[in-house]
Symmetry: C2
Subunit: 428 residues, 2 copies
Amino acid sequence: MTVEDMAREMKLSAPRMGATSETSRNQALQAIRNALEAHKDDIFAENHKDLDEADKTGVADAVKKRLKFDEGKLGSVLEGLTMLMELEDPIGKVTLNRELDEGLRLVRQSCPIGVIGVIFEARPDALVQIASLCIKSGNCAILKGGKETLNTNRILFNVIKEAVTKAGLPEGCLAQAESHAEIDELLKLDRYVDLLIPRGSNKFVRYIMDNTSIPVMGHSDGICHIYVDEETDEAIDIIVDAKIQYAAACNAVETLLINKNVSDEFLKNLAKRLKSEGVKINATPELISKLGAEAEEVTQISDNDFDTEYLSFALGIKFVSDIDEAIDHINQHGSHHTDSILTKNQENIEKFMQLVDSAGVYANCSTRFSDGFRYGFGAEVGISTGKIHARGPVGLDGLMTYKYKLYGSGQTVDEYATGKKSFTHKDI
Amino acid sequence: MTVEDMAREMKLSAPRMGATSETSRNQALQAIRNALEAHKDDIFAENHKDLDEADKTGVADAVKKRLKFDEGKLGSVLEGLTMLMELEDPIGKVTLNRELDEGLRLVRQSCPIGVIGVIFEARPDALVQIASLCIKSGNCAILKGGKETLNTNRILFNVIKEAVTKAGLPEGCLAQAESHAEIDELLKLDRYVDLLIPRGSNKFVRYIMDNTSIPVMGHSDGICHIYVDEETDEAIDIIVDAKIQYAAACNAVETLLINKNVSDEFLKNLAKRLKSEGVKINATPELISKLGAEAEEVTQISDNDFDTEYLSFALGIKFVSDIDEAIDHINQHGSHHTDSILTKNQENIEKFMQLVDSAGVYANCSTRFSDGFRYGFGAEVGISTGKIHARGPVGLDGLMTYKYKLYGSGQTVDEYATGKKSFTHKDI
């Protein structure tokens, strides 16, 4: 079956999937949980095939770590499923209940988006997580995972699909695409696919965004900033955490902006600590001149070199004259992801939070907090740097839309247009 | 200045616009109101130039009616401004306030989207309405109006811009694009423009959607349905209203699906009434065969002719075997705008509302109710048939996003990752 055929069928199934009860969706999650446990040896065996292939093709160690699906990862996945079952049903929430006139009642109620295309990196646990988020929220999903985990994805998908179908969910609620060419097919299916969620490299996400008219939720870049407005006791710890706690994450800091009035001592201590943690410092000449002996091993860069997402143990550092210059720099060079100010000055904290145009605006803590689990959302689809629909870490809510139900008793618009009747607009 | 230069500057102004007080934004709306009244003679004079030009080029009467900006239209526009001033400030609403841990508080707060590009049809009142919605919501806007109202748009824009700037809003909060070529420029500016709202013909909106990676809010089609599940007393009145009350509207009915069990008498009465109201009936042979003498002047069409948005006094009619066939037809051939069921059967009403995948799902009333004013939103940006961000009639809320503010006191993620601290996730 082509991706188009799959998507067309799925579009027709989607309203039925959205009409399933909370109980049946939670039972399906339980069924997935049971099936994954029952089939774990087969799943690990398929994963070994992918790992062997990765060894042969010389895949990087960091990537291999992501490819691996073992007892530990299975454990987290099972725990995630249990958590998801316990979350409140996102379907059917009434957000407006209004009498437009006697016998004419308007209700706005949450419902699933419908058909979601998810294209994700080579992480088998991501397949389970995303499929289960879609099921919990009553959405249908077309899943396309990374080619490096083809065997693991295939068995995981088959196990999950069989489990949910047996549990009584519509046959067409999940589909899998396997070949890379199918991505381009998928991008054209705006008639059938309501939302695309791409996860992966900047370049890949950018490609998706540039080549489809389907709405896309996600982020291509994660150029996060910390602005040191004033030296604080904990500033250096926060900067180190934001850079090295997980340098490959999109919420790791890439650029440090420092108010030029901070002490030389602070700068030297900062440089010393960063170097001792293995961070490669890229700084402007003005800043390097303040570092004394600590200038060693620091790479000189210019004011134009601050559009880089390093995703590694490297950090760009420059001076700014004041908070306004910091804000403008972030708004022009940032990716509207997460930016933090370090200061005791409350007024500056509020100014920064007001004027920095990012999904996360932080004070006195690490940019790495930008994450659905840390925010207490239970589960995360991804992080959105767009401003439309969902912004920042996206939980189940991001997979929902709403519809307006209007219960009438014979009303025509003409009666209101000609003044025979008038609206009451009373919220009930 | 090129559109790109305008947009780049606007992107930098946007956070400042978002930081303006409710008072100053309302004062700006009052200033627009005063200025429009003060300059009305000049505005009418410029509008006459456009009307004269329209006479020369032989523009259709319906279009000329839209181009006209007279005392009546000015009156509605001024009234709209007053209503808008009275609406609650959409900025700064707190939708989440959560302690992640002691001294680490997360706040989600509404804020403007930022830079909005609005491309609209040749209706001068739309320019005022859209500019003032953007101001109320703290957004910056690039406005591109129809070429047929070039002179009226120019003076309206200048009057508005001068008024809001004098009232103290940032200089860069409004910009105007005048040439058609600038639309294509605008579509490329995804770095600076956060949202596009196109209004106009299906073909035009489709063009915008297909040629930009900027999120688009709106609708290209409005193929709305009425499904007659059972004959009701008011069914014929509702159908007539939905078709003729304003046939050029996107929420007018285009297709009537009738349960094949209705009486021949109902069908004959319906056909008679529609014809007497001047509606051109297009029906399938099966249906025509039931009409007896009323079959006269009815055009025969096939089952494949139900993807047409007539936008005129024409209506497609066909039989369906049951509610399921009706629902599938609507989901496949509709535009997910607004669809209504006519029946006394409560179970079928709920089934229809649950399974029809449209922004508006109605029972026993006209599809023409789908409108921001009728829903009591005070003002309307447009109607969205997309499911992302906003669906159905879009009021001020549709111009808002949110940001996450995280107030910390030195926290690093590593403390939580290594178990030294743990999250409390307490809503406050």
